[in-house]
């Protein structure tokens, strides 16, 4: 079964949005806003049987079937009513940025389909037919300013043995990335995505990547923690190649399997969608093992006012039954 998790618009979401600077876990935004959205739906009295003046009781959250919805083999957590979302002004007023996180250990062959799915959810959520910028985040890749500096003179692509050393660290090789890129170029050609971008690419990776692209990335996103130590060569190279270096504050591994399991599980902080892993408690939770597939983040900014009107996440996971 496929699980589609969503946060709805987190800008009006309150405390879950804001992390304390001391808490340096940057995937907190996703997990806490998912949790907040689940909780809000679990506790909200449905319109038919609302209790007058009643605070929904904390002790008896509603069974998940009442606040999620299933279409064929897809479970939406919570149920999404796309008719109630959308943007308040004309499309031209917005700058819509989407970031797609491919997750570790998921075959890259699935990405063509994942791209479509992810973009489709965002378009439906925002009631638009295209997005301005799609940034893709490849799994396990992280920007290393020191590495850049040490061999800063050498921006020419080197021998392929570098790629093999990378694959050990879980980073895929350029060829795989390019295969993925082809599917994104197609979405660009169809007019669904205006600009494409990558995240955490250093000079060398960019230099290897660029010549093989038809649609060049116009953005390279670097983690904000490193933004003041971005090596000069990368700044110069990016400028020369017409690539904007932007900042972000996302975790590369944005949704680890354990986090997802806890989020959906039966425990105190869970949404009560999965049954106990030991299968002992005979509740109506789903049985099986969850595997996060991808996460997409979208942000709609009113351009000439600098106001973030809508921001949220979708995350998709596979639930494989009987593996428990």
């Amino acid at each position: 079964m496929k699980l589609v998790l969503s946060t709805s618009n987190i800008m009006s979401g309150g405390p879950s949005v804001i992390r304390h600077p001391t808490v340096e876990k940057s995937n907190t935004e996703l997990t806490s806003s998912l949790r907040a959205n689940f909780t809000a739906h679990q506790r909200s009295p449905s319109s038919e049987n609302s209790i007058p003046n009643g605070t929904p009781t904390r002790l008896n959250p509603k069974p998940f079937r009442s606040w999620t919805s299933q279409h064929e083999s897809t479970l939406y957590i919570p149920a999404i009513d796309f008719s109630s979302s959308g943007l308040s002004e004309e499309r031209s007023q917005y700058d819509i940025t989407v970031k797609l996180f491919y997750l570790p250990n998921i075959p890259s062959s699935r990405r063509c389909l994942q791209n479509r799915e992810a973009i489709d959810l965002v378009l439906r959520e925002l009631h638009v037919s295209s997005i301005d910028l799609l940034i893709v985040s490849f799994p396990s890749i992280s920007f290393d300013a020191d590495d850049e500096d040490s061999d800063s003179d050498d921006v020419v692509p080197r021998a392929a043995n570098e790629a093999s050393s990378e694959s050990k660290s879980g980073v895929e090789d350029i060829d795989t990335m390019i295969q993925t890129w082809r599917t994104l170029e197609k979405l660009h050609d169809e007019g669904i995505i205006d600009r494409l971008g990558v995240a955490e690419f250093g000079t060398q990776r960019l230099a290897k990547f660029l010549p093989q692209t038809h649609v060049r990335p116009s953005v390279d996103q670097i983690n904000v923690r490193d933004c003041c130590v971005v090596p000069k060569p990368l700044i110069l190279y990016a400028k020369q190649e017409g690539i904007e270096l932007l900042t972000h504050n996302d975790c590369t591994n944005v949704l680890p399997r354990g986090t997802l399991r806890e989020l959906l599980g039966p425990g105190e902080k869970g949404a009560g969608i999965l049954a106990c892993p030991d299968g002992l408690s005979p509740q109506d939770g789903l049985q099986g093992d969850v595997e996060p597939q991808w996460v997409v983040k979208y942000t709609a900014v009113i351009k000439d006012r600098g106001v973030v009107e809508s921001k949220g996440y979708f995350a998709v996971a596979e639930l494989r039954e009987g593996l428990c």
């Binding site: 709805s8 800008m11 009006s12 959308g86 308040s88 953005v219 932007l246 942000t299 600098g306």
Partner: protein, 661 residues
């Protein structure tokens, strides 16, 4: 401060007779503007900063620094500089170049003090992050241009007040005190801009009040300060004017530094930011939400520890300006029973805000001032004209004042295509926020002005605070933040901000939870333009439970000890930035600004007030008697100039600015 048309100003008794007339015409003009502009929509964020300078003149031989009264000459030089005009800059009141597509040179304005100068960007800033980076170089450009049009001995300094304003021989050229307009025993009439509006303003405030304005600032008591302290500069034996009796009637208070003229307040420099809102609703929301931040930013920018040659026991300029333009009569002040005047007025026309104006469902009645003074007739006229209750109340409150400067020529005919009578009242209500309707005949939208901040010594700091406020407004609108506390608590905070080193030693009332409550159906509208409440109709707790006393550090950097405490303005801004596409270079610059403010709030860096006190204390000429003499002042102003130039890179001022690379 723009100049109104030249005309024949009425002296006070005459102006008083036409006060109701001006008010009622002002209200008709307001209604006309409101009707025309209430539906104005989708204006971009444009914003501007105003930097004010003191023009000082050094006498290096005698180691004396004085205020230069050459404002008019400097402005004339600026207005006739071909190159500046060609670049789009100049002096709008006289002559300026046309706006340019690209970079436009800054423009300069006269101010109340004849030793002051104001400079603004040549055209407004947008929200493009590149614009935010242009602010600081533009401020430096402004200062460089200003300096270029001054004598070699002069310099535009950004101290809030001149430390020895009101002492003997503090201006060049020198003029005798005790002039007809100010009747001050400390400063000459020539201290004010000679444009007829300014001396009339000062004279009519004095006349309306029935005596001179009275500014008593508690003196800072040091080891050798004579105690009780009797301001040794006060002359009790003057007999030129009836107002010379003031001091014999107890105007000068013991243990205080006494001042007696508008120039002691309106001669202060501040840093003001004006924002254009997308529509009237957003403007009203920004007005309300920025209001509780006013006292916090006042304390954080504190820079005013010296008056008339003495260290004082307060750190900011605010109340001194308030008293310097306080035109209330003894009846209005509550010193005499009400006989001739209409009401008791708890505040000066220069004071903290007294109203909230947003039609925000989160604005609870309990936040409003229960003792707000309003003119009921004016409110009725505005309501009859179609204005809603909150906004009508706001203007009916501003319009409890009399117009001070009235030109005879303007009373002949009511012109609804002008705003002069409305502006007459509006622009002489100096509250810490100002809600500004669109000017007639322009494309400018509804605006909100943030007025409490003190000017900082360097352009780096002034840019940092300007940009910080801009980013806060974007965070407020993006997260739909709620900073409401009872407006009377904001006024209390304003008083607290005056206390010496309030930034580190005091606590301020602040709202604990700034977030809207989550409602699962609000996705579609995001609460920005929709009148739909984002708050579900759950019963509200007592207002007193919504806020608590917080340190400035907690307000700025967050309550990190407790789970779910106030998140802090800087974390909110950073979270906003994380949601935006910001390039590496910009983010890095913004991080510098935020870091300065973070460290000012947590005490690692000093306010200018603290730095100035420290400078005086460590000066070899200081006798620990609170007196700041000519030579200390000379060295202090020189040091301020050096800091302006070097921004701490040579180590001077490092305690304020941090280590700079």
């Amino acid at each position: 401060m723009g100049l109104l048309a030249i005309g024949t100003p009425l002296d006070w008794p005459e102006a008083k007779k036409v006060a109701s007339h001006v008010r009622s015409w002002g209200i008709e003009q307001l209604l006309a503007i409101w009707r025309r502009a209430k539906g104005k929509e989708r204006d971009a964020l444009l914003w501007g900063d105003e930097v004010e300078y003191l023009v000082v003149c050094y006498d290096d031989e005698d180691r004396v620094v004085r205020l230069s009264l050459r404002q008019a000459d400097i402005l004339a030089a600026l207005a006739s500089d071909e190159k500046l005009l060609h670049q789009g800059g100049g002096v709008p009141d006289v002559q300026r170049g046309t706006l340019r597509e690209g970079e436009t040179a800054p423009v300069f304005h006269p101010e109340f003090g004849r030793f002051m100068l104001e400079a603004t960007p040549g055209k407004p800033w947008g929200i493009g992050f590149k614009d935010l980076l242009d602010v600081e170089p533009n401020m430096k450009w402004r200062r460089a241009i200003a300096k270029d049009h001054m004598a070699s001995t002069e310099y535009p300094i950004t101290l809030t007040t001149f430390p020895r304003l009101g002492t003997k021989d503090c201006t060049t050229p020198q003029y005798p005190v005790s002039g007809e307009k100010l009747r001050s025993q400390f400063v000459p009439d020539e201290i004010a801009n000679p444009h007829i509006r300014f001396p009339t303003l000062a004279a009519n405030i004095r006349s309306r009040r029935g005596r001179k304005v009275e500014i008593n600032v508690p003196v800072f008591k040091d080891e050798n300060t004579p105690w009780p302290f009797k301001d040794p500069t006060v002359n009790y034996d003057l007999h030129h004017w009836p107002e010379d009796d003031d001091v014999r009637n107890g105007a000068a208070k013991q243990n205080h530094v006494y001042m007696d003229a508008m120039a002691f307040g309106m001669g202060s420099c501040c840093l003001q930011i004006t924002f254009q809102a997308k529509n009237i609703a957003e403007g009203r929301k920004m007005y309300d939400q920025l209001s509780p931040l006013g006292p916090i930013l006042l304390a954080l920018t504190a820079a005013t520890p010296i008056y008339k040659g003495f260290l004082v026991d307060t750190d900011v300029r605010w109340n001194q300006i308030s008293r310097a333009v306080d035109d209330r009569t003894p009846e209005e002040l509550g010193e005499k029973p009400l006989q001739h005047d209409r009401w008791r007025l708890p505040k000066s026309r220069y004071a903290s805000n007294s109203t909230y104006i947003s039609q925000d469902p989160r604005l609870r009645k309990e936040y409003l001032d229960p003792n707000l003074v309003i003119d009921e007739d004016i409110k009725k006229r505005l309501l009859d004209g179609g204005m809603d209750d909150l906004l009508a109340t706001h203007f009916a409150h501003l319009f409890i004042r009399d117009p001070i400067v009235v030109f005879a020529e303007d009373l002949k005919e009511l012109d609804l295509d002008k705003a002069d009578h409305f502006e007459n009242l509006q622009s002489t209500n100096w509250q810490h926020m100002r809600f500004k309707p669109p000017p007639i005949g322009s494309d400018i939208g509804w605006r909100v002005e943030f007025r409490p901040m003190e000017i900082q010594i360097t352009d780096y700091e002034n840019a940092a605070f300007s940009v910080f406020i801009v980013l806060i407004t974007r965070a407020i609108l993006s997260f739909d933040l709620n900073f409401y506390i009872p407006i009377t608590r904001v006024s209390e905070n304003m008083e607290i901000a005056h206390i010496r080193d309030a930034v580190s030693s005091q606590k301020f009332y602040f709202r604990k939870d700034p977030f809207p409550s989550r409602s699962i159906k609000s996705t579609s509208t995001s609460g920005l333009s929709s009148p739909v409440a984002s708050r579900p109709p759950t019963p509200l707790g007592p207002v007193e439970d919504e806020y608590e006393l917080m340190t400035i550090n907690e307000v700025i950097n967050g309550q990190t000890d407790s789970e779910g405490g106030f998140p802090g303005l800087i974390p909110l801004v950073e979270n906003y930035l994380n949601s935006m596409n910001v390039d590496v270079e910009t983010r890095c610059e913004l991080a510098r600004y935020l870091d300065l403010i973070r460290k000012r709030a947590d005490g690692r860096l000093w306010t200018a007030a603290k730095w100035i006190r420290n400078f005086v204390h460590n000066h070899p000429g200081y006798k620990k008697d609170s007196a700041v003499d000519e030579s200390i002042t000379y060295d202090l102003v020189k040091a301020a100039e050096t800091i302006t130039r070097n921004e701490g890179r040579d180590g001077l001022g490092e305690e304020m600015l941090g280590k700079r690379v």
